[in-house]
């Protein structure tokens, strides 16, 4: 009898992802789903989908979901968690949603130490609207609203969300990971698991920033996009744990 090597996590519905070929959301959705399965919390989890490519996450995750207004997912998650403190509550947000229009909500949710988890997908552009400049777009990076490349004189500098939030006392766990190759994907999953475990311990706000690719809007083949991420995004957005309060297991 053959061994089962690959199976859809119970936490993912059979709906096929609508994401573009090579998009990182599919991988990151799966990592979240595997962690929820492994922790056995599918039936007590409430997710919050945000505006952007991943707004349809409520279709793919097989647990209760709320879909929030643009940037407001941390506020919505706050409302849910305050009513249901024993449930697992998390948001899934992109960089335009979290680091631009929703900056106040994420900073204050972090500062309050809301016992939620935030999966923050940073792919350096607004994906759903067709590749506009985001707060995480790199200097010189071409987008549809920075056609000559992001000019720091005119548009300023990218925001390093993990570093910024790590200066606050509310967060218990903050890490930046990437999914540009399989070893990094394993590390990303570990960080996501730590974030959810920290939430279960109730010690504070948790966030995992996942560097991801957007081949369609970057105008690259999927493999090229991961190489571009590694070469260009990693130097600006260094990987690592930015906050791991005492009590969080440091197993690597």
């Amino acid at each position: 009898m053959a061994n089962t090597l690959f199976v859809r996590p119970e936490t993912l519905t059979p709906d096929p992802f609508h994401y573009c070929p090579g998009c990182g959301h599919g991988i990151i959705h799966r990592l979240v789903a595997e962690v929820i399965d492994e922790l056995g919390v599918r039936e007590t989890t409430i997710g919050v989908a945000s505006v952007g490519c991943s707004v349809l996450a409520y279709k793919y995750f097989n647990f209760d979901m709320q879909q929030a207004a643009h940037g407001r997912a941390p506020a919505v998650a706050t409302g849910i968690k305050r009513v249901l403190p024993d449930r697992v509550v998390f948001t899934y947000q992109g960089d335009g949603d979290l680091a631009s229009i929703g900056l106040a909500e994420i900073v204050h949710a972090a500062a309050r130490g809301e016992k939620i988890t935030v999966i923050f997908v940073n792919n350096a552009n607004y994906g759903m609207t067709g590749g506009q400049m985001a707060p995480t777009t790199l200097p010189g990076q071409k987008t549809t609203t920075s056609p000559a490349g992001r000019s720091v004189d005119q548009a300023g500098y990218p925001i390093r969300v993990s570093e910024m939030l790590a200066t606050l006392d509310g967060p218990a766990y903050i890490a930046r990971v990437s999914i540009h190759n399989p070893p990094q994907i394993f590390k990303a999953k570990k960080a996501i698991r730590k974030a959810f475990e920290t939430q279960l311990r109730g010690t504070g706000f948790t966030l995992v920033e996942v560097l991801s690719s957007c081949p369609t809007n970057w105008g690259m083949k999927p493999a090229e996009a991961f190489s571009w991420l590694e070469k260009n995004m990693l130097p600006y957005f260094p990987l690592g744990e930015y906050k791991a309060a005492s009590g969080v297991s440091q197993d690597d």
Binding site: R42, E43, T44, T45, I46, V48, V55, L56, Y58, N62, F63, D64, M65, Q66, Q67, A68, A69, R72, A75, V76, A77, T78, G79, I80, K81, R82, V83, L84, R87, A104, E105, V107, H108
Partner: protein, 358 residues
């Protein structure tokens, strides 16, 4: 037993008695006492008070909490309500029950902190983007701040809709004796649609996105059917001396209370004036008003704005007979000034009683 309470605090206490255990808000004059009261009262009642970073965050916390099945409230005043509109549109679309309080102040812009009714359009036309309405209740005294707050929570759950309490700075700040509900609400209606964790059932989704236009039109049709049901069943108004009235004064909230005095004095002076006070601004009690004004020669709308409710009055009784008197910017009309308007329209002219056309 009656106790003396400030309007803003009375709303807070009534909310707690109505089973509300969650409040998310932001300070703004003239509603801040409501925030302060609940910051003390809710933890006592085993609930959560949270001062949000903004009005935008507050209304979205309400969205999350309402979606999780709780009775929840937020409050603000003019500029803060403008910020909440995006969230209110989402609440209406997702059919999430909650109560939103607007203790109105003078606008536009930062305006002032004195009482006003200038947010009537914003409140009754939906306020945010998309086709929606929400029930708007207009108290005229502190007792009604209590009664209508309790009513608002019932309506919100019954129709799965946000409900607005539209008060003003005068009502919010004044103190009056009130009778609180004898029995607090302990059992809340079941909300099988809420996102509470999917144990033992299919997953629940709170959503406002429908990319397929046919599906979105069907959602809109369902919402419109609900709005039609509310319009049919929930319109309320208070009537005073309307029988055989030649002049019907229409006013809501604190202005109606001032107008009532003017109507009473006019009556004593031999002018057949009556008052219709809409208690629900949406749905507007157009049938009650139309019936009361059926034989009247003139209708006088009095508002603390440049004339907003007058549009609903005209839709109810037609254009011809409708007069208007308003004060703006936080100025409150006196009963003497309203009486003067009534006398102008329907006074004694050359020894004969007459009603002037609009």
């Amino acid at each position: 037993m009656k106790i003396l309470m400030k309007g803003n605090e009375a709303i807070g206490e009534a909310a707690v008695l109505a089973g509300c255990r969650y409040f998310f808000g932001y300070p703004i004059t003239p509603q801040t006492e409501l925030l302060e009261y609940l910051s003390r009262r809710l933890p006592e009642a085993g609930g959560v008070f949270l001062q949000a970073e903004s009005e935008i965050a507050a209304i979205n916390m309400v969205y999350g909490a309402a979606g999780a099945g709780a009775r929840v409230m937020t409050s603000s005043s003019g500029p803060g309500l403008s910020l909440k509109q995006e969230g209110i549109s989402f609440l209406a679309a997702a059919e999430l029950p909650c109560v939103i309080v607007n203790v109105m102040r003078g606008g536009p812009g930062l305006g002032g902190i004195q009482p006003s009714q200038a947010d009537y359009f914003q409140a009754t036309r939906g306020g945010g983007h998309g086709d929606y309405r929400l029930p708007v209740l207009a108290p005229a005294c502190v007792q009604e701040m209590v009664d209508l707050t309790v009513r608002a929570f019932t309506l919100a759950d019954q129709y799965r809709t946000p409900v607005m309490i539209l008060a003003d700075g005068l009502l919010g700040q004044m103190m009056e004796p009130v009778e609180l509900p004898a029995a607090p609400v302990n059992e809340l209606p079941a909300k099988p649609w809420a996102t509470t964790g999917c144990k033992g059932r299919q997953k629940n989704i709170i959503n406002t996105l429908y990319l397929n236009p046919e599906e979105l039109e069907a959602v809109n049709q369902r919402l419109q059917e609900k709005f039609a049901a509310i319009t049919k069943k929930e319109a309320r108004a208070e009537e005073y001396l309307v029988e055989n009235a030649d002049i019907i004064v229409v006013a809501f909230g604190i202005v109606a209370r001032i107008a009532k005095e003017a109507v009473k004095v006019a009556h004593a002076q031999g002018i057949r004036a009556g008052l219709v006070r809409p208690v629900t601004l949406w749905p507007f009690p157009e049938k009650i008003l139309a019936a009361a004004a059926a034989r009247a020669k003139a209708v006088l709308t009095v508002e603390m704005n440049a004339g907003q409710m007058i549009e609903d009055v005209r839709l109810a009784v037609g254009n011809e007979r409708v007069h208007f008197y308003g004060r703006m910017g936080g100025m409150v009309p006196t009963s003497k000034a309203i009486l003067e308007q009534i006398r102008k329209i329907g006074g004694i002219v050359r020894g004969k009683y007459a009603v002037r056309p609009a």
